[in-house]
């Protein structure tokens, strides 16, 4: 394997300052290398603690192509276990979710606690010594939880989760602050939308503020949505790059002009009296007002967690040209009136039949088909390169319609792929 980091690396030839090569989305070998250097090395979002609220709850998740069982054990501790029996490699858990103190391999009956420990196996006298001490379900090398968001890394060493998130942590803080109890819950099940496209096209689209007015013209037109105009070069909305691949579309400058609570959600304080009074009680009127004017942010945590105001998406690559978007409504603890609207709007806009996402999916798939063509070989990402600027905290800012997040994402990608 080529492990050089000279200026003439393969990646220098594929990634230029304002251009990326089409093969980055189509080359099977590159996808395999991404699995090793991104999906199995960096921090990847796995799930949320609220998906397994009770002792012994579990749910199947993935890190790249690896299947992991996220469990809450008897003591309430969260575990990330590889779904593979150490005996003959069988999957030990085939149900997508449930409540179980242990997992029993259906092939030879090996039994594992929901912390991964091997508890027993049939006919133990057939083994020269007690294998329970040395064998068990594999554990994801590192796990870290930030405000209920569970991340895993298959690499034993590397930056901490907090280092990895950097300033993007503020965006997760902000999501939680919109809850009158300071916590989100994911308890309504996921929609699973499969697309014939490379995962990076989805990552790039999540904070692309250039496309909504065009791609989503049909729904903006008929739903009289107030969101469309915010994605306009003349708007004060910005795009922000946090570092390490993370970015956001920040619409708060526009919402602040109006200074109306809940406008971000297309509604008003008077329609959500219960939520508003609970927010006032928790944060005080001044702070609650600010939170409710700003709303939830639109943030992409590289490589696979996307929070879009009212929804949470998880990206799962299946192959170089297939990706699943898992999506669910954000639910705020203690806010039933708001939560109901979140669910309704989520069901309308996303998933396989959604007013918005079906058209995004169409664009991913057309792009995937396009980049497989030969000429021009390169994709141009130069929009707004003359007007990006760096904020005091080191984050980069661009116009909401600029390609800035993609440009910086590719720089980060290149640094990950060049690493040995």
């Amino acid at each position: 394997m080529d492990t050089t980091t000279t200026t003439d690396s393969k990646w220098d030839r594929l990634i230029r300052p304002e251009y990326v090569h089409g093969s980055l989305y189509t080359d099977e070998a590159i996808f395999r290398e991404e699995l090793e250097k991104i999906w199995y090395r960096t921090w990847v979002y796995v799930g949320h603690v609220s998906e397994i609220p009770n002792p012994n709850d579990y749910v199947l998740k993935t890190i790249g192509l690896e299947e992991v069982i996220m469990t809450r054990d008897r003591e309430g501790q969260i575990n990330l276990l590889h779904n593979r029996c150490p005996h003959r490699g069988n999957r030990v858990c085939v149900k997508r979710e449930g409540n179980a103190r242990s997992f029993t391999c259906a092939y030879h009956g090996w039994n594992f606690g929901n912390d991964g420990a091997l508890k027993g196996y049939p006919y133990p006298s057939g083994y020269p010594d007690d294998k329970r001490k040395e064998l068990g379900l594999g554990k994801v090398a590192r796990m870290s939880i930030y405000k209920g968001f569970v991340f895993g890394s298959l690499a034993a060493d590397g930056p901490t989760l907090e280092e990895h998130l950097g300033p993007a942590r503020a965006a997760l803080d902000n999501v939680c602050a919109n809850s009158p109890e300071g916590e989100i819950e994911l308890n309504t099940g996921f929609l699973q939308h499969k697309v014939k496209a490379n995962w990076k096209l989805l990552v790039e689209n999540e904070t692309d503020g250039y496309h909504p007015q065009v791609t989503h013209a049909s729904i903006f037109e008929v739903a009289q949505s107030g969101i469309g105009p915010l994605y306009n070069e003349a708007a004060d909305s910005v795009t922000r790059y946090f570092g390490n691949g993370h970015s956001e579309l920040d619409l708060r400058p526009e919402f602040r002009k109006f200074n109306e609570p809940m406008r971000w959600f297309g509604t008003s304080a008077s329609r959500l009296p219960d939520y508003v009074s609970k927010m006032n009680a928790r944060y005080g009127e001044q702070k609650a007002h600010e939170i409710m004017v700003d709303g939830v942010r639109h943030v992409m945590i590289f490589p696979n967690l996307f929070i879009a105001e009212i929804q949470l998406f998880v990206l799962q690559p299946l192959s170089v040209s297939e990706t699943v978007q898992h999506v669910t409504a954000l639910q705020f603890k203690g806010a039933p009136d708001l939560n109901r609207r979140m669910r309704q709007q989520t069901m309308g806009s996303v998933g396989p039949a959604g007013f918005l996402l079906a058209d995004d999916a169409e664009m991913y798939e057309r792009t995937q088909a396009g980049v497989a063509q030969r000429n021009p070989e390169w994709l141009y990402l130069g929009r707004g390169s003359h007007r990006e600027r760096v904020e005091d905290d080191g984050c980069v800012i661009g116009n909401v319609t600029d390609d800035m997040p993609s440009r910086h994402l590719w720089k980060h990608y290149k640094s990950l792929m060049e690493a040995a």
């Binding site: 309504t188 939308h193 499969k194």
Partner: protein, 161 residues
């Protein structure tokens, strides 16, 4: 089966075939007129019967959102249906399950073949209808479409299922 029941089954079957044809032919406005004002159009996810008021569904439209769905097609900018999917569905196993208040409950299976620029997809579902007689015409008060694979990841399904 009494003669009245046979007649009713025939009527109901004709109505369901008509609905299928309007869907296959993308005749959205005529399809929309098949619904009652209190209609519910429901395509569950992750099982047959998860409470749509508490859990995610692929589609859970009331009458007004259903109207929005139709309007979106007519903008000419619903990209995922440009070009439109070529559709051919076979509806079968039609059974009248019984009367529920003013509605007749009817069940049917459908196999829908979709040819899209993405490729060809075969969808299979069990439909449950609540049909109501209004001014001498059958109308849909409710249609629930349980896709056989609604527990797994699905390609875009932007036509009327």
């Amino acid at each position: 089966m009494t003669q009245d029941q046979m007649l009713q089954l025939m009527e109901v079957s004709q109505f369901i075939y008509q609905e299928a044809r309007l869907q296959d032919e993308h005749r959205y406005d005529e399809w929309e007129r098949l619904w009652t004002d209190d209609a519910i159009y429901w395509v569950p996810a992750n099982g047959d019967d998860l409470d749509p008021e508490a859990c995610m569904s692929i589609i859970y439209d009331n009458r007004s959102r259903l109207g929005l769905r139709v309007k979106q097609f007519y903008t000419g900018k619903r990209h995922t249906q440009m070009p439109q999917s070529r559709l051919c569905r076979v509806v079968s196993n039609i059974e009248v399950l019984g009367q529920e208040d003013e509605d007749l409950r009817v069940r049917a299976n459908a196999i829908v073949f979709e040819s899209h620029t993405r490729g060809e997809v075969l969808w299979a579902c069990t439909n449950t209808y609540h049909l109501r007689r209004l001014d001498g015409q059958w109308r849909m008060a409710r249609k629930k479409v349980v896709l056989a694979n609604n527990h797994s990841a699905l390609y875009t399904m932007s036509f009327l299922v």
